[in-house]
């Protein structure tokens, strides 16, 4: 995407975030919106790995949960200020992702999916069973997020924080994809052999993006922990990891705005579809299948392509 298109996209997103609350009748809407925005942050990072880098992770909810638990424990047990705890948790998660990524990103396709699946499951089990530290399946209470004595409280305040963090995430992702590092990453996706021959250390490029995407997930997880005030190991379950990948694929691979749309849609749709009661899951499944059949590149790239064709026909 050109720089101008990127700036326009970012401004558009800012506008949508700013205007959306006009249609929120009560604080429940804010609550859902904050979840959507934080998951969008995870998906923007995950899309760097999947959409741009051509790798896969079925364990990213694990990094999200590690960020959440890291922040909860550092603030609750050690009295670390929340912002410092968020940064420390992100650094720790980044380190873990590096150590895990080095051996497993040599794998490709299905085997890489299996390995990352294993990572996610291990993290989930550890959070569940180390009840002395994590509170186990009963969960863990988390202190509010305070910066220099001011606490972020209430869904409205959190909405603006989450919105700002998402804009920052989109900006950083946009910077990266349109830079030497990002081109190297996309080249690895396009042809690993050619990337190597052009001087790109492909193993390093993959680990790098794996770490970045884990850090995005960790930061979102930390914020989620403080926002909800209570977390359980299930935020890092396998099901959540699959959900994250689904969001990225549905929204559109290698499209940062697609990742945002996917995350927001799949967070909001179940709420909307609640009117279908017991058919909710079936309707959701049907929507996803239809999207993949008719827009196989995902919503945002698919609609963009369709619009361009329509423009050409006219």
């Amino acid at each position: 995407m050109s720089r101008r298109a990127h700036n326009l996209g970012l401004a558009g997103l800012a506008l949508v975030i700013a205007a959306a609350p006009l249609f929120f009748p009560n604080s429940y809407f804010y609550d859902v919106a904050v979840n959507a925005l934080l998951l969008a942050v995870v998906c923007v990072g995950l899309n760097l790995l999947i959409g741009y880098g051509g790798q896969i992770s079925l364990g990213h909810a694990g990094f999200y949960a590690l960020g959440a638990y890291g922040s909860a424990l550092l603030t609750g047990r050690l009295g670390v200020p929340p912002l410092a705890a968020l940064v420390a948790a992100a650094a720790a998660v980044g380190t873990i992702a590096y150590l895990i990524g080095r051996p497993i990103l040599r794998l490709k396709g299905h085997t890489l999916a299996m390995a990352t699946l294993g990572v996610g499951i291990i993290i989930h089990i550890v959070l569940k069973t180390e009840s002395g530290l994590t509170g186990g399946p009963d969960g863990l209470a988390v202190d509010p997020f305070t910066v220099m004595g001011v606490a972020v409280t209430g869904d409205r305040a959190w909405y603006w924080v989450a919105g700002a963090v998402l804009l920052a995430a989109v900006r950083l992702a946009g910077n990266l994809t349109d830079s030497p590092v990002g081109r190297a990453l996309r080249a690895v996706h396009g042809s690993e052999i050619a990337a190597e021959v052009m001087g790109i250390d492909t193993a390093r490029a993959k680990v790098q993006v794996f770490v970045v995407s884990a850090v995005f997930a960790s930061v979102a997880g930390s914020l989620f922990a403080h926002k909800s005030g209570f977390i359980t190991p299930d935020i890092g379950s396998f099901f959540r990891s699959v959900e994250l990948v689904t969001m990225v694929v549905l929204g559109g691979m290698a499209s940062t705005h697609g990742a945002v749309v996917g995350a927001v849609l799949l967070t909001i749709l179940p709420q909307v579809l609640a009117t279908f009661e017991e058919y909710e899951a079936m309707v959701l499944g049907a929507i996803m299948m239809a999207t993949m059949i008719f827009l196989p590149k995902g919503l945002v790239p698919g609609i963009r392509l369709a619009a361009r064709r329509w423009g050409a026909v006219r």
Binding site: N175, L176, S179, A194, E196, V197, M198, I200
Partner: protein, 254 residues
């Protein structure tokens, strides 16, 4: 003077010797061609030199450095670049971005400056883009600059690969069948491009089936058969070699 020395190089695939105790040298500033029937080991040889295969035996010395067994990205840093017989284009990128990846080693590749889009990175990218557009003009695909690579025709992609390889500013450029699948006009244009590249001081090694091109532009020809050296020398010498004629070229004059 020797830029590349191949010494006793062998590669086995499950008992089949694709390259068999091969030795030759390449002097700088010349155009070398490697010819031979299909399966003679030409592409395998390229893959050995550029680090995609690890040799079973023997060694490769480039620019007075033993590069045997080094990874391709390490060799790129020493000044080796290549194109592929079966295109290896980044189809998920635009044409000019493909070439810009070729220039990767000459850009600021640190993570944080890229993430924060520091002014120096932006300036570097601007310069790089301009340079790459010139290279695209040079090989004759300038009009595709902003096109998606996936939408370009085959002949243009062949040239795009050459531009990408040149963007790396190599000392040694290996071209694997640059004229394959091109029509006569296109192939003549590629011919000119290769000569211009060589004239600019880049040493070129060529695998090619187009004999007219090979005989016309090569300073030196190496003939392979079943992974072994059958003959080498100037085009005139090779053409006069009865073994070459018998094994590969056929008696019907060319």
């Amino acid at each position: 003077m020797t830029l590349l020395a191949v010494d006793g190089l062998s590669k086995e695939f499950g008992g089949v010797r694709a390259v068999d105790a091969l030795s030759f040298t390449i002097s700088p500033g010349t155009i070398h061609s490697i010819i031979g029937p299909n399966g003679a080991g030409k592409t395998a040889l390229f893959n050995l030199i550029t680090g995609l295969y690890v040799p079973s035996a023997g060694r490769v010395v480039f620019d007075d450095r033993d590069i045997t067994g080094k990874r391709p990205y390490q060799l790129a840093r020493l000044g080796l670049s290549r194109t592929f017989q079966n295109l290896q284009i980044f189809l998920n990128m635009t044409a000019v971005e493909n070439v810009m990846v070729g220039h990767h080693l000459h850009l600021d590749r640190r993570f944080l400056p890229s993430l924060l889009r520091l002014p120096a990175v932006v300036r570097g990218d601007h310069r790089c883009r301009r340079h790459c557009l010139e290279l695209m003009d040079f090989v004759g695909v300038g009009r595709y600059a902003e096109a998606e690579a996936s939408s370009m025709p085959y002949g243009a992609l062949k040239r795009l690969e050459i531009a990408r390889a040149l963007a790396a500013k190599p000392k040694l450029l290996l071209l694997d069948e640059p004229a394959a699948g091109l029509n006569a006009t296109e192939s003549r244009e590629i011919d000119e491009v290769i000569q211009k590249v060589a004239a600019s001081g880049v040493t070129v090694v060529l695998v090619e089936h187009d004999m007219k091109m090979v005989m016309g532009i090569s300073d030196h020809i190496l003939v392979l058969d079943s992974g072994r050296k059958l003959a080498e020398g100037s085009p005139a010498e090779v053409r006069a070699n009865p073994e070459v004629v018998a094994a590969y070229l056929g008696a019907d004059g060319w």
